[in-house]
Amino acid sequence: MGNVPGKLENENAVRFNRSLSTSSALPSSRTISGGPNGSRKTRTSSMVGNILTAGRRSESSESLSGANPYKRKSTKEKERLKERHVKDLTVKYQETVDGGFLAPYGSSSLEKVDYDASVVKSLIVERRLAPFYAPLQDFDESWSREELIKIVDGLPLHAPFNEDLEAFDGVPIGDLSQSDFEYLIDKSLSRREQRRQRSKIFNARLYQKRILWQERENEKFLETKLEAKRAVDGQRFSSLPSGDLKFDLYRTGAECPICFLYYPQPLNVSRCCLQLICSECFVQIKRAEPHFPHDQDDSSTPADDSERDPNLLTSEPTNCPYCATPDFGITYQPVVTRRVGLQGSVPLTYKHVTDSEDPEQKEATRRGSLAASDRQVVTSDSLRPDWQIKLNKERMRLARRSANATAIHVSHQLVAPSHQESSSLRSHTTSRSPPHPEPINRAEVNTGRWPSTATAAEIENEMIEQAIKLSLAESNPTK
């Protein structure tokens, strides 16, 4: 959802980060972020303010300032939003919460992390969702403090990317610092092919940019760590974790039962059955894409989708992976004495606090199961607040296709039995009231327009014309 970085700087909220903004307002990020809309200059301080206020905003995002979520976005607009999202997925060491980060560590496929980044970031800053930590592949209890700290120091911000993905093999990417890549598109192709090529090139470029952005952050992180080692005055490196912090985090970690990786405790806990789940796995659990109910669509009816009532399309809420309770949600109980980073104390000065945390932690894990609506609970749906819009859009797309198919069907038959079908379908859609795709309305008008005396040939012409219009309307990209 479009919340542009800007105005909403929250001075109080960034008190920690303030002191850092000198070291973190990176001149280098500008070259690339001057992408399609060169005017965007994201400075870390405003970014953070943005993160903190984003949660509130995106809760009301559906009613956001006249922005109709059903309005078709231009290709450029969609590309811009996608690029923004990818930028939000870059892990930055200065954006740290309790020793973890605001963006995931290991996910390289964008489909897996298509959540609303501003929602996730603000949940982490509010300590309602565990931050993303760099996991360990294994943990050995015999490691000494020094060994463990050394291992943790060696962790990157993000798992290495696969530099050449098969999917982008041979796709030209041109000059990444230039926002315009029109010239890479083969103009001799049909418009549809050009569109397809454009999206391929865009994705390949975006992937490379993502690697670049992350590398830049990695380098900065590394350089800062090296500098910090040499420097006497640690002030500038205050967002780096102290030795105590690294040790405390990783000494008592746990294995996520889904990815089998070792993470600092506390992990998130399922609201229903109190099982652990790391944030990286949690954000990947989402509703299935809109589909027809399973009992209906088993292979016995390979029916053409366009012949089915679009209102039957569903998308069930996620189930708990452990106990299958619907409306999956988690809670997170941060360690009170380890509140460092954004809206907390300075990570570099963190000192181990003895004992006091333990009874509290035990108390926390002893809670019973909570309702999905409980205030502490973060549900899967809340990370992708646009799921309803997506579902409605898919219904509309299908309704369009179905109207299209009906028109063609009728033009073949020239009699009206299929009318009833289509008009009942239409009344369904109307009652559901997402804004109507135009073609359906037009079809409705037209059905009433045929005079009873119209000849078969007239009707046929009308229908063919209609079918052509609809198919044109449909071939416009809906993705």
Binding site: N162, P257, I258, L261, Q284, I285, P321, Y322, A324
Partner: protein, 151 residues
């Protein structure tokens, strides 16, 4: 292909170090996401004494997406079709990332012990099963002997 996720490595190790009785799953040398599987027919089922070959593939999105499992050995079963495809809820909409290769294969084995002709994939087999169960079971035995006998 990207490096193998820890989860797949650990699952594979555990399958070897702590195998499930009656089930083997061995990863292919060239593609560690592809497993050659054998499942023994459960006792007191028409598939008793049979050893069935299956293939199992872990898609890129595993464990967020279910593994793909298919019978390679011919089998007479209402929920398994001629191509070896299996109608099993945990392989489809009831998949959960907390399940594993191990649990999926156990579910497949359990499906052999309790065929469900009311939710068929192989319609002809299911019909036979419902109309003349004795005949169907005899046929399942026959096929087991013919195609799945231990050498």
């Amino acid at each position: 292909m990207a490096s193998l996720p820890k989860r797949i490595i650990k699952e594979t190790e555990r399958l070897v170090s702590d195998p499930v009785p009656g089930i083997t799953a061995i990863p292919h040398e060239e593609n560690l996401r592809y497993f050659q599987v054998t499942v023994e027919g459960p006792e007191q089922s028409p598939y008793e004494n049979g050893v069935f070959n299956l293939e199992l593939f872990l898609p890129d999105d595993y464990p967020m997406e279910a593994p793909k499992v298919r019978f390679l050995t011919k089998i007479y079963h209402p929920n398994i079709d001629r191509l070896g495809r299996i109608c099993l809820d945990v392989l489809k909409n009831n998949w959960s990332p907390a399940l594993q290769i191990r649990t999926v294969l156990l579910s497949v084995q359990a499906l052999l012990a309790s065929p469900n002709p009311n939710d068929p994939l192989a319609n002809d087999v299911a019909e036979e099963w419902l109309q003349n169960e004795d005949n169907a079971i005899a046929k399942a035995r026959e096929w087991t002997n013919m195609y799945a006998s231990k050498q």
